[in-house]
Amino acid sequence: MGLSAVTVLGVDRPGVIAAVTGSLADCGANIQDSTMTLLGGHVAMMLLVSGDLDSAELLKRLRAPDLVVTASAIEARRHFCEDGGGLGYVLTVHGPDRPGIISAISAVLAADGGNITGMSTRLTGRLYVLIADVELPKEVDVAALMRRLAAVGASLDSEITFRPVEPDLL
């Protein structure tokens, strides 16, 4: 059973999700992970799909005139509850909007081997907000990284908070 990464882009309207997932169900494809959001009136969807059909066949079945769809076979790596060797953090940046905020912040994280595992940004009025889930290698000097992030934040006139993710195991 193969795994395919499917992306769907299109103008948002009621029924887009139903159409895509209905086509997948008709193919006997199983949606393992998915995420979806609206950006500027467009729907953006990414799905990890398993099933008997290969990616080319999936693409044929999902083709729709008002949607841009891609499907490609992937070697998915999944690690549930394994010792992944990383530490989870949440990064928050907020300040006046300007070009280059994401690239500046992500470059600081990347220099220490930090991996952004989830991110959302929003612009509301003049305020630009970035929230990112970050995984850091255990050996990273977090205090030094926070100082570097704070310096970059100050150069962007932005406030930055960087804190360990709240444990949600009860």
């Binding site: 949440v90 928050t92 907020h94 300040g95 006046p96 989830g118 991110m119 959302s120 929003r122 509301t124 009025g125 003049r126 305020l127 630009y128 907000v129 929230i131 990112a132 889930d133 006139d157 932005s158 406030e159 908070t161 993710v165 709240e166």
Partner: protein, 191 residues
Amino acid sequence: MNERSKQTIRRSSERSERAIRHGTPREVLTAPHPLLSSVAEPVDPTDPVVVAAAADLLATLRHESSTTGLAASQIGLRLRLIAFDTRVHPRGRSSAGELVVANPRLARASHWDHGREGCASIPGLTADVLRATRITVHGHLPGTGEAVTIEADAFEARCIQHQLDHLDGLLFLDRVPGALSLHRRLHSCDA
């Protein structure tokens, strides 16, 4: 909060209310205004300047009908003053009524839970934020300077903690638990 505490707050707040009756609504600052990221200064609650500031804060809260709480920094004053009134909020349980508190200090916090909140200074966004749902806060009433203790739960506790964060230059954005916890604002039932 027991009935006696409620009556004490009510009597004290009525005396305080007389002292800060004549305020003027001010403009609510919106992020990224730098004052919203600054730490507020402790105040003398009997100082006429502070009493006037408390009056303006209360007048602004009354004027901003969709807001249940405000901190002085939101109206451009770097003073440790907060105002709140959650009496009519649908998620409210405890209610100390309409209150302005000087130098509020969180003494006890327990029963943590995530809940949606927004901010008058951040129009357009809300987030799921972890807050204590039971708190005890000590402070003083502007005007009389009387000490006051507030025991709050549910939404009132969330609202007060949100205002306390403002006094330390923190916005609810600084407490968002993850990338998927930030939302476009869909409703107005927020702190």
